[in-house]
Symmetry: C2
Subunit: 116 residues, 2 copies
DNA sequence: GCAATAGTTAGCCATATGGCTAACTTTAGC
DNA sequence: GCTAAAGTTAGCCATATGGCTAACTATTGC
């Protein structure tokens, strides 16, 4: 709560685009240069660089330049924070629905002892 | 790949806002009316309704109106699809880094047998 | 050292997002 | 049936996003 611009904002926003998810996917198989990453996309380089910018700002990827080549790499820890948030939500929902199921169960049991 | 506007787009975009994540969090504890949901936020109702609209469009929540009250509820299956995508990415990255570790390990072993 | 390669910067454009107010529409309650 | 409550619709505004072209910078390789 009191999320005054959480890093999660940037992470989820970054993942909310198919191009960027594809980049993350690709980087899951190993580091790559900007040119390699851009190759599959029918998009001008500057447009593509913006996507990389968003990903890097979010912390999902890291990059460094050696000579004229910039190499990008996944930062799995960041992906992890998002996964964790979602797991927490699911846990909350599941514990609640477990209690609900237990309650419904207890109603059934009561009904039975009442011979109804 | 070939993500011509995947539902994941909407889901991740929806989660990329603290207000909307808070709503999801709140709904994890049980269904609620629009007014109840809106109460914690210093925001005009129409603005708040837009957030609900985004969440519903993404499939993360469901709502129905009875009388003058609209009740919103979490759709955990949708949250699940996003969690699954992330788990897949992690799996990919981990299997790759496992192979990498194994490779490094094999190099060490080789070095050892070479008496170096 | 000159040309090609790999990025980068600047600036334009259309559309989407996230906020607002004001006015309207149903219900629910007295 | 009139008022208050709970949403909804319409329309405005500023900023962000995602795309482009054109022009520039810095390395590399011959």
């Amino acid at each position: 709560m009191a999320n005054y611009c959480s890093p999660l904002d940037e992470v989820f926003l970054a993942l909310g685009d198919p191009t960027r998810r594809a980049i993350v996917s690709r980087l899951g198989t190993g580091a790559a240069s900007v040119k390699e990453l851009a190759a599959p996309f029918a998009m001008a380089l500057p447009s593509f660089m913006k996507h990389l910018g968003v990903l890097e700002r979010s912390g999902l990827i890291r990059s460094k330049k050696q000579g004229r080549i910039r190499t990008c790499e996944l930062e799995p820890a960041t992906l992890r924070t998002a996964e964790t948030w979602m797991a927490e939500q699911r846990a909350m929902w599941e514990s609640r629905s477990d209690r609900l199921a237990a309650y419904v169960e207890s109603l059934h049991a009561k009904e039975k002892t009442n011979g109804h």
